[in-house]
């Protein structure tokens, strides 16, 4: 009799334990995760037993986890992580390049430019740093002068692939902004080993391709019907398009009635 009594007590204890844990987890989901504390390079260097490269790699891996983890809403610490990695191991090329390309997406464009310039100052022989810096100047800042400067630097960097050199050489020569930008992103897509960056480049490429395709359809429409369609929905309704194309950035398009260019609704 006593054994059964003791077993029930034990099961109750264990059950309560699981219940408390579950309630705690439920509560934690409501509380937003605080932003992590990112120490400075000096602090880490004092404690890492000289293993600065390994510490830089860990900071880099932490940056990736932070960025891809979805724990943060603002990603405001991403630049801290990247600067930490770059300060711990100054020769570590990728954080500089990755930073300038990805930070604009989390509202840290200036920090991105800062980190790329740091990499160039430190004479890192990696073409990606000036190339991505030029890309950001072109895309985010619409600063053609600086873009041209850094594309040129990228082309001159030893080890730059032929595609990159071509983009740099053609910069400013092509009047069409869209195909210019598309080429820039194509250059990145073809040369990166980074799935994250590849995806970003593909998004831009698809986006431009969709715009071009829509405008071609709109022109054909005008030739047939006499005027440009109002928007994409009209094309779908009239059965010309099976469905609205999935723009990677989620935009919806209407058409400029004067020149048939696709414009964001």
């Amino acid at each position: 009799m006593k054994k059964i009594y003791l077993s029930i007590c034990f099961l109750l204890l264990f059950g309560s334990l699981i219940y408390v844990q579950a309630e705690y987890d439920k509560n934690q989901k409501k509380v937003p995760n605080p932003e992590p504390f990112v120490p400075t390079a000096a602090v880490i260097k004092a404690a890492d037993l000289g293993l600065h490269n390994a510490a830089a790699d860990i900071a880099w891996l932490a940056a990736i986890q932070y960025f891809g983890g979805g724990q943060s809403r603002t990603f405001e610490k991403l630049d801290d992580y990247l600067f930490l990695a770059a300060d711990l191991d100054e020769k570590f090329a990728y954080p500089y390049a990755f930073g300038v390309l990805v930070l604009p997406g989390v509202k840290s464009t200036d920090e991105g430019i800062e980190i790329a310039k740091l990499g160039i100052e430190r004479n890192i022989p990696d073409y990606r740093i000036p190339y991505y810096l030029a890309t950001t100047y072109h895309v985010e800042k619409e600063d053609k002068k600086n873009a041209a400067l850094y594309f040129d630097l990228a082309a001159k960097t030893p080890g730059a692939p032929a595609g990159i050199k071509k983009v740099a050489a053609n910069y400013g020569a092509r009047p069409d902004l869209r195909s210019q930008t598309r080429d820039i992103w194509q250059g990145i897509y073809d040369t990166t080993k980074d799935d994250l960056v590849k995806e970003k480049a593909l998004n831009y490429i698809d986006h431009f391709d969709i715009l071009t395709a829509l405008e071609n359809i709109a022109k054909a429409y005008k030739d047939r019907v006499g005027n440009y369609p109002a928007d994409v929905d009209e094309l779908v309704n009239k059965g010309i398009l099976k469905e609205a194309p999935n723009d990677p950035f989620g935009f919806q398009y209407k058409f400029n009635q004067e020149n048939g260019r696709a414009e964001i609704k």
């Binding site: 000096a42 260097k45 004092a46 404690a47 890492d48 037993l49 000289g50 293993l51 600065h52 490269n53 390994a54 830089a56 790699d57 880099w60 891996l61 990736i64 986890q65 191991d89 020769k91 570590f92 990728y94 990755f98 990166t192 080993k193 980074d194 799935d195 994250l196 960056v197």
Partner: protein, 253 residues
């Protein structure tokens, strides 16, 4: 000196048969294999990550083994009185200490060799290259360990293993921070500067054994970067073992 080799041989035997050693080594190997995973989530920086983490891991694990084995080495002999049956024979304390040192160091060299083979295999597998430069890093790693073995033998000859371990860890941290301390002291007054300079030369400066941060970028070490640390290691080891001998001789067993 045959006695030194005899004691070394048997110390080597004793440590190499210790099962705890295999536990630590097992963890080290698991860690080395796990660097492949970390490389895979590094967005294309695989080879760099596995090299950096691999070399760092081997360093830390080899230190753990050295300090763990070394801090017990003499102390166990004193506590269990196995030292009695040795020193009552025609064996001097100096021969005893040198023998213990060589035995323990040999055991460590085998461990590092083992870890090095795994490291080289992983790097070949992921990065498709044979990391010859890492061999220099392993050599300097062993030279640094020599200092630590001598240090823990010294501590072990006059204090308990726990205290000895703590002292060794303190020296490890200070030894790697000396350059930073020196730089920080540049802004201070003369007295602080002199104190820090004294500290700089008294404490073992362990950064000179660290070439990991540039060999992964393909830069080979210069001749000076190998010769000077080697000399430093030999001299420091001799000094520490000499002190250990003095401590042991003074003790009543």
């Amino acid at each position: 000196m045959k006695n030194i080799l005899t004691i070394a041989k048997n110390t080597f035997r004793e440590t190499i048969r210790d099962r705890i050693l295999y536990g630590i080594l097992g963890f080290a190997i698991l860690f080395l294999l796990s660097t492949v995973f970390f490389g895979s989530i590094s967005l294309g920086e695989d080879t760099k990550v596995i090299k950096d983490l691999g070399l760092a891991g081997i360093y830390i694990f080899s230190l753990i083994i050295a300090v763990f084995l070394g801090s017990q080495l003499i102390h166990k002999e004193l506590e269990k009185r196995t030292i009695y049956i040795i020193l009552s024979k025609p064996v001097s304390t100096a021969q005893f200490i040198l023998g213990k040192y060589l035995g323990l160091l040999s055991s460590l060299v085998i461990n590092i060799a083992f870890m090095a083979i795994i490291y080289l295999a992983v790097v070949k597998f992921v990065g498709n290259q044979i990391d010859y430069l890492a061999l220099w890093a392993f050599l300097l790693n062993i030279l640094e360990l020599s200092v630590f073995v001598a240090l823990t033998i010294l501590f072990s000859s006059f204090t308990a293993p726990l205290a000895g371990t703590i002292y060794a860890i303190l020296i490890l941290y200070i030894g790697h921070s000396l350059e930073l301390l020196r730089k920080a002291a540049e802004k201070s007054g003369d007295l602080v500067k002199y104190l820090v300079e004294a500290l700089y030369y008294l404490f073992p400066n362990l950064e000179k054994f660290n070439i990991r941060n540039f060999i992964v970028y393909g830069t080979p070490p210069t001749v000076a970067q190998i010769i000077y640390p080697a000399l430093y290691s030999v001299l420091l080891t001799l000094i520490l073992l000499w002190l250990a001998n003095l401590c042991l001789k003074k003790r009543d067993l």
